[in-house]
């Protein structure tokens, strides 16, 4: 035992004086005497343990066979019930096969293999002084033979070349994707693009939008876009109608962006981009189900709780000659999560 105990004050110097014959710390009492198991001494117990192990292995084999039979007996036919029986049958068979095999092996080890503990000495990991000296000498000779110390030019040019050689590996990754450009600032919305229902794509008449209703909206012609999913990921809009008098604040700059209380807001959360899909009709709050950012429609979707910072961008809308809702323009700011180059736009 290499552990040494720090000297410590004893409760009373008088007592200490009387016991200076005693060591500072206790001695390790050594391994306790080995206690035999039933199976070590009693042949009946040993053969019982043997039977148990064999029984478990037999059970495992039975499980294996059951799993294979189940595979052919319960064939999935597309409905849940048959999938469930197939999964359950094969799975339970496999579970039994594996579990019984494992328990059998462990039981064998615990009851019949020697259980007397063995002591193995540890050795210091550090090499001996001689070994360390020899290793240093080898390294020294190696260094000398290579001449790396004597020829600094070789060494330095080697280091330079080594530092440079991975660069093509990084440059070659350039074509992983295009540069962002300004695509994040544009969506499919532009003047005159009709608002349509998601996912059917049917147009929405302003007159159909009743007070308190909410629509999930995509721009008309989304399906014909070159990259519909990417466009949808930016252009998804939530349409709500409420009484204009509910508005707590009024921004003159947004005068005429709604159609008689029909407001269109980007559905993409300004936090990390989940769809803000929950609308509380009573409070006019929009809630993002991912991280609970809460936007107040009566304050132009200002964040009133949660991790988002910026309000949901509003889409200016109007009605066309036929009474359908159309966009007045694109969003006036980038939608979705913040990014470095976004700035104050």
């Amino acid at each position: 035992m290499t552990v040494d105990h720090p000297s410590r004050p004893t409760g009373s110097s008088e007592v200490a004086a009387r016991h200076d014959a005693l060591p500072d710390s206790f001695d390790n009492p050594g391994l306790p005497a080995h206690r035999h198991r039933m199976a070590d001494t009693d042949p009946v117990a040993a053969s019982r343990a043997e039977r148990q192990v064999v029984g478990l292995f037999a059970l495992s084999a039975a499980g294996t066979i059951f799993a294979m039979v189940a595979y052919f007996v319960w064939t999935p036919e597309g409905d849940f019930a048959s999938i469930k029986s197939s999964t359950l049958g094969v799975g339970l068979g496999m579970a039994l096969s594996l579990f019984a095999l494992g328990v059998g092996a462990v039981h064998w080890a615990k009851t019949l293999m020697p259980d007397a503990e063995v002591v193995e000495e540890r050795h210091a990991l550090r090499g001996t002084e001689d070994e360390r000296a020899a290793a240093l000498e080898i390294l020294r000779i190696g260094g000398e033979e290579s001449g790396i110390g004597r020829r600094p030019l070789i060494r330095n040019s080697l280091l330079g070349a080594l530092a440079l050689f991975p660069l093509p590996g990084i440059v070659l990754l350039r074509d992983l994707g295009p540069l962002p450009g300004d695509v994040l600032t544009h969506t499919l919305w532009e003047e005159g693009v009709r608002l349509t229902r998601d996912p059917t794509g049917t147009r929405i008449k302003a007159s159909e939008v009743t007070l308190g209703s909410v629509y999930h909206v995509i721009p008309e012609g989304l399906g014909d876009a070159e990259h519909p999913l990417e466009e949808k990921a930016k252009a998804a809009v939530l349409l709500v109608r409420m009484d204009r008098s509910n508005m707590v604040v009024n921004d003159p700059a947004r005068e005429g962006w709604d159609v008689d209380g029909i407001y269109a807001y980007s559905k993409i959360c300004t936090h990390v981009g989940c769809p803000v899909a929950l609308y509380e009709q009573q409070t006019h709050h929009l809630l993002c189900p991912c991280h609970q950012s809460t936007f107040d429609v009566t304050q132009y979707c200002k964040v009133i709780f949660g991790p988002a910072k910026r309000p949901l961008p509003q889409l200016p809308i109007t009605v066309d000659d036929e009474g359908y809702l159309v966009a007045q323009s694109d969003f006036t700011e980038p939608v979705g999560p913040s990014y470095w180059e976004r700035g104050d736009r």
Partner: protein, 565 residues
């Protein structure tokens, strides 16, 4: 007769192999290697075995899975989604679930063992931390373990996204938002990662190759190094009679550990198969294919991502700001990247930090009982509590609906709790540890309460205590209790700070924090004194004891030990 034939054949094979591989030397070196026995040493094994299960079940899944985002119209056994447009990835995952016999079972085995893999690594890490197994010479292996758990998270995240269903797609959307929050390079990184705008058509095949080749390859290599170092260092052991810092006491690899560990692999596999057969996980057919517009309420990530998701929920929005035309989204950056980065850094640094504080340069092969390292144990519990709060915060919406609470109140509760509960946990845990150490002292000094009340001739009552045997006592008294660092003179003869004085003062400060509150283990002197000073053990007086007791017995209250009278 067949016995001899078999023996001959075996001998022949062994001879053939030895002459080509020098196998006898390896067998001699490894086969009787001793491993100590303790249930907590199986936690790492569970992680290893669940990884093997992941390799087996994952290979099965790749036989049918199509890592492509090309849109296709689903025509398959699952009628409700027939005719729905979805990616090949999603369609092939449905195909595995509904058309391939045992396919759903394998998917569930794969997903459950992934959850188990990371959970087992985490609990294994707790064990290593709380017992101080990370100390010299095992610091490097601790770091390998930290990297392995990060790899586990990476494997889990990349695999989670592969079915390309609505749930995992929204997960990817969050990843996109997180990547975009990185200053300067975030937007570019996002475009390179997704091959353009989110979601693009590249991310699934890219995640696939990372998930099935890159990460498992790295994990395998790291596991090799991790287990190799265990063999090199020899396993640590808990303190106990006969167990010293210089030996390892346990059972030999061959045959006991081969049977036990091999059997345990099948037990773990069996349990995973049982769970997978009976408990549904990730029913992607309920979620449907990914579409950037819909989202399901009450979405939960896999458990190991929960703490990051919880952090995202807790971080208030005002921490985002714009400066000079650039946006800094600390509300995303801090919980999603900075905190995990700092946690990783602290985990890697901890063994070195503790060694710096203690100044201990010895090898440690005997584990600490957590109570005997109160500050370390407290710090560990503090970290777990902080992690737990962030993790629980990821379920704030579910808790709010289940218990009818306000989600805003819950969020504020978690926000406040994150700052208050961890330090409290440290203090309380340390007190509990010190209390347990005092209990150990009490037990070592006075033995077990026997429940027998004895009345002395003088009319005094006392309870008879049964003293511990040497073996019983050893576990209570074997440890060290480091003292706080004594600060020597900090100035030189001119009254100027010595070089490194500030560092030394800091070290002394941290050392006081670690070791100021301490309970000493019982010494033989104290034990002898307690026997002497009127405790109530039944003591067979050794000559030494008799002498002590004979020399000066305190008058008045000295109870003659029953056995000794």
């Amino acid at each position: 007769m067949s016995q001899t034939t078999t023996t001959k054949a075996a001998a022949g094979t062994a001879d053939w192999l030895d002459e080509r591989l020098g196998l006898s030397r390896s067998v001699k070196g490894i086969a009787r290697k001793v491993f100590p026995d303790h249930w907590s040493f199986m936690l790492g094994e569970v992680a290893l075995y669940s990884f093997i299960i992941l390799l087996i079940s994952g290979t099965f899944l790749t036989l049918w899975y199509v890592p492509s985002m090309t849109l296709t119209t689903y025509e398959g056994a699952y009628a409700p989604l027939n005719g729905v447009e979805m990616s090949d990835a999603m369609a092939s995952t449905l195909h595995i679930s509904f058309d391939i016999r045992g396919g759903l079972l394998m998917r569930q085995i794969h997903h459950w063992s992934a959850l188990l893999f990371i959970a087992a690594m985490a609990v294994h890490m707790f064990r290593v931390f709380f017992t101080g197994a990370f100390r010299k010479p095992r610091e490097l292996n601790w770091i390998l373990g930290v990297v392995l758990s990060l790899m586990g998270l990476g494997a889990g995240f990349t695999g989670y996204s592969l079915p390309d269903d609505l749930l995992s797609g929204n997960g990817l959307r969050i990843i996109d938002g997180v990547v975009k929050s990185i200053p300067v390079i975030g937007t570019y990184t996002s475009f390179f990662l997704f091959g353009g705008e989110f979601p693009g058509e590249s991310i699934i095949p890219r995640l696939f190759i990372i998930h099935v080749l890159l990460i498992p390859g790295l994990i395998l290599a790291l596991i090799g190094a991790h287990v190799g170092l265990v063999a090199l260092h020899k396993h640590t052991q808990y303190p106990g009679p006969g167990r010293t810092n210089g030996n390892v006491v346990g059972f030999p690899l061959m045959p006991v550990y081969m049977a036990k560990a091999g059997g345990f692999f099948f037990i773990v596999f069996g349990v995973v198969a049982l769970v997978a057969a009976t408990v549904q996980i990730n029913p992607i057919w309920n979620y449907g294919p990914y579409d950037p517009s819909p989202v399901s309420a009450g979405t939960q990530p896999d458990w190991y991502i929960g703490w990051i998701d919880g952090g995202l929920r807790l971080m208030p929005g005002f921490t985002e700001f714009s400066l000079l035309g650039f946006t800094m989204s600390l509300n995303v950056l801090v919980p999603a990247l900075i905190i995990p980065g700092v946690v990783t850094g602290v985990l890697i640094a901890y063994p070195f930090l503790e060694a710096w504080v203690t100044g201990d340069k010895r090898e440690h092969h005997l584990l600490d009982r957590p109570r005997n390292a109160p500050t370390r144990t407290g710090l560990g519990v503090m970290a777990i509590v902080a992690y737990g709060i962030m993790w629980a915060a990821a379920g704030n919406d579910l808790m709010a609906t289940a218990f009818g609470l306000s989600i805003n109140d819950l969020t504020w509760l978690f926000r406040t709790g994150l700052f208050i509960a961890p330090p409290l946990a440290l203090i309380i845990t340390r007190r509990i540890c010190l209390g347990l150490q005092r209990k150990d002292r009490e037990l070592a000094l006075h033995g077990h309460e026997s429940g027998t009340i004895v009345r002395t001739a003088e009319g005094e009552f006392y309870e008879v205590h049964r003293p511990l045997t040497d073996t019983e006592r050893w576990i209570l008294v074997q440890h060290e209790s480091p003292e706080p660092l004594e600060l020597g003179s900090q100035v030189d003869s001119n009254g100027v700070d010595k070089p490194g004085a500030r560092k030394e003062r800091l070290r002394a400060k941290v050392s006081r924090f670690f070791f100021e509150q301490r309970v000493e283990p019982v010494t033989p002197t104290e034990l002898a004194a307690s026997h002497h000073d009127g405790s109530h053990e039944i003591i067979e007086p050794t000559p030494e004891h008799a002498a002590i007791e004979g020399s000066d017995r305190p008058t008045g209250h000295g109870h003659q030990p029953v056995g000794g009278s």
